[in-house]
């Protein structure tokens, strides 16, 4: 009898502990998406069920092409971020010791204390026609007139990679940190070159960190609004801009909702395909 009472109390405790998480999920994730879903399948005129906002996405080339472009650019940004972040993380986790390790890691973190908006403006100051780099090129005689470096795809890529860097470095440093030095030494001891050791020992060990870093960076890039708009200008054609336009400029909430859900579904699909292609599972990576 007493045992039963204790069991019930334990259950109550568990529910109370799960409450904040449950509320968060319900109020901020499930409810809004449910609302979006309702919006996207309801005809605003007569309130009947309709699928036209989804078929609009597939029939109007501008929309699905924008999405495709966004996805490809995000994948590219993810790959570039990985390529740049891996050596940095390896250096922090394995080559540096003690205090200098903390300092270099902090130096990676510090830029992210500044708001993303300010950081993006920083890039604009550097890259615009009357900016620092343009002036330097003219001053040194490498360019005859002002050089506009903003509003290209390369600039968007630069901004995306820069703003995602931290989210790749942190998981990579923590997985690489957990790789015991003796594995690396054993790799050399048995005759491996630098490349062999990286390829056969370091990378297989770091796979969970690589996958989780890539998922985070890909999702952040795909959902990024500020960087493509500010650095890419009018021609940036980012999918989040389409959603913004539908909601704010056109007051077409139904279309915006459908786009929002398409973004969620398609990005989940891409992540799933990515995991399948690399033979990873979501639980393995996150566990």
């Amino acid at each position: 009898m007493g045992n039963l009472g204790a069991n019930a109390r334990l259950k109550l405790g568990l529910w109370l502990l799960l409450m904040p998480l449950g509320l968060w999920l319900l109020l901020l994730i499930i409810l809004p998406h449910f609302e979006l879903l309702i919006f996207s399948i309801t005809d605003p005129e007569d309130g009947a069920f309709t699928f036209e906002f989804y078929s609009e996405f597939f029939t109007e080339p501008l929309y699905w092409r924008t999405f495709l472009r966004t996805a490809v650019m995000s994948i590219l940004a993810t790959v570039l971020t990985l390529i740049i972040a891996f050596p940095v993380s390896f250096y922090i986790a394995k080559m540096l010791k003690g205090r200098s390790k903390g300092i270099v890691f902090a130096m990676c973190l510090i830029p992210f204390w500044v708001s993303e908006l300010v950081r993006t403006f920083g890039w604009m100051i550097l890259l615009r026609e009357s900016g620092v780099i343009s002036n330097f090129l003219q001053f040194s005689g490498l360019a005859a007139g002002p050089v506009e470096l903003l509003y290209t795809d390369a600039t968007i890529m630069l901004g995306l990679v820069y703003s995602s860097m931290l989210f790749m470095v942190v998981p990579l440093v923590s997985t690489l940190d957990s790789l015991d030095d003796s594995y690396i030494e054993a790799g050399y001891d048995l005759g491996g070159t630098n490349w062999n050791v990286i390829r056969e020992i370091v990378i297989p060990h770091a796979v969970p960190g690589i996958v989780s870093g890539c998922i985070i960076v890909f999702m952040l890039s795909l959902g990024n609004y500020l960087t493509p708009v500010l650095l890419g200008g009018k021609d940036s054609l980012w999918f989040t801009e389409q959603i913004y336009t539908q909601f704010i400029t056109r007051f077409n909430w139904e279309q915006g909702s459908a786009f929002g859900l398409m973004l969620l579904l398609l990005s989940s699909l891409i992540v799933w395909l990515g995991l399948k292609a690399t033979g990873q599972s979501f639980t393995k990576t996150m566990g």
Partner: protein, 377 residues
């Protein structure tokens, strides 16, 4: 020339200085081909640093390392004919057993079919045939040990370095692995350099042992020599169990010294002739518990006889010990308990006669400048 070629490893005056301390201090030694060489020392004595210099992970501050007469100073770890079994084995967890053993062969560019063949062969030799597809975590501690050995031995290294690989095993398995390691070493004929702080591992397996202390070799010799003829007080204290006293010389005659220990025991000792001895000098004195003859009745054939009473019995099966006390002086001595019927009923307070010969008393003169540290130790 032929004699020269039988030396696999020669270290010439190698030292390793770190900013704050010297880890290895001017060590020289040679290891003949096919022998099992152990470096025995307490933790922090520099043995790991020495081993890492042989593997190439550290470079010596001075001196030279020669493997088959070739200097290894400018050779990186992956080019040395040396392989290492790491303390925690470092079997790659992302690979299965076959891939682990094949790793080194793949680096040498051996053909796939030959790799498979050699991996199968070496697995059979270490008694784990058929476990090539298993994952590392599916194997027991002893099996992993053998895989770690196989991963190195498949490459036919000139020298195999072992960094206390038995440390993580439980006692029973460790005893078994000691014998197995020795057998494998004989079978493969590879030169082993084994570092350990466990004297029993070193004594059981080695052909030669170097006892290391504070970055220096105290003595290099066979297990027999280290045990019976230690050259320094450190070796006498570190190898095997010992009763250990500080004693003062009370008289000297041509054959023997008469000693009186700090806690009051008096007995005779023979001490190596080269030491300068005089009455009143202080010695560090060692008598092994197992070298003392225990008897219930007095007899006087030996040089030393103490009449004691049993103070404590430390039961540990075959290694049970008696702590006996001499009633007159209060001095204590530890002896190994004989397992004969005579002593089965031994209880506290029983009277015992302890005999041993003067040659089994080891004495080392305490240098005045070393005295404080020796007493402290």
């Amino acid at each position: 020339m032929s004699k020269q070629c039988t030396i696999d490893l020669a270290c010439e005056n190698i030292s390793k200085h770190f900013t704050a301390f010297t880890a290895v201090d001017n060590v020289s030694f040679t290891i003949p081909k096919g022998s099992f060489f152990s470096i025995l020392g307490p933790s922090g004595c520099g043995k790991t640093t020495l081993l890492r210099m042989l593997a190439g992970f550290e470079s010596p501050s001075s001196g030279d390392i020669l493997i088959k007469q070739q200097s290894m100073l400018d050779v990186p770890p992956n080019k040395r004919p040396v392989n290492m079994v790491f303390q925690h084995l470092a079997l790659f967890p992302t690979m299965n057993i076959e891939q682990n053993i094949g790793y080194g062969l793949r680096r040498q560019g051996v053909a796939k079919a030959e790799i498979a063949e050699r991996v199968t062969a070496v697995l059979a030799r270490v008694g784990l045939a058929g476990s090539g597809k298993k994952r590392v975590e599916q194997l027991s501690g002893g099996q992993r040990q053998r895989i770690a050995l196989a991963r190195c031995l498949v490459l036919n290294p000139t020298l195999l370095l072992l960094d206390e690989p038995l440390g993580a095993l439980d006692l029973k398995l460790r005893e078994q692995m000691k014998i197995e390691l020795k057998l494998l070493q004989k079978e493969f004929g590879t030169t082993f350099v084994y570092i350990t702080h466990d004297q029993s591992e070193a004594l059981v397996m080695s052909d030669q042992i170097a006892v290391m202390n504070k970055g220096k070799f105290e003595q290099v010799g066979t297990p027999h020599q280290l045990y019976y003829e230690p050259e320094t007080a450190f070796v006498a204290g570190f190898v095997g169990d010992s009763n250990r006293w500080h004693g003062t010389i009370t008289s000297i005659d041509d054959a023997c010294l008469m000693l009186k220990t700090d806690d009051g025991l008096s007995f005779r000792a023979k001490v190596a002739a080269e030491q300068k001895l005089e009455v009143g000098a202080t010695l560090e004195v060692f008598v092994r518990p197992e070298a003392i003859n225990v008897s219930r009745t007095a007899y006087s054939d030996d040089d030393n006889q103490l009449s004691c009473t049993v103070q404590t019995l430390l039961f540990d099966g075959a290694n049970s010990q008696i702590i006996a006390i001499e009633p007159n002086s209060g001095g204590k001595i530890t002896v190994l308990m004989p397992q004969t019927s005579e002593f089965v009923n031994l209880t506290m307070g029983d009277e015992l006669f302890l005999n041993w010969s003067a040659t089994q008393t080891l004495g080392f003169l305490v240098e005045p400048e070393n005295r404080d540290s020796a007493v402290g130790a």
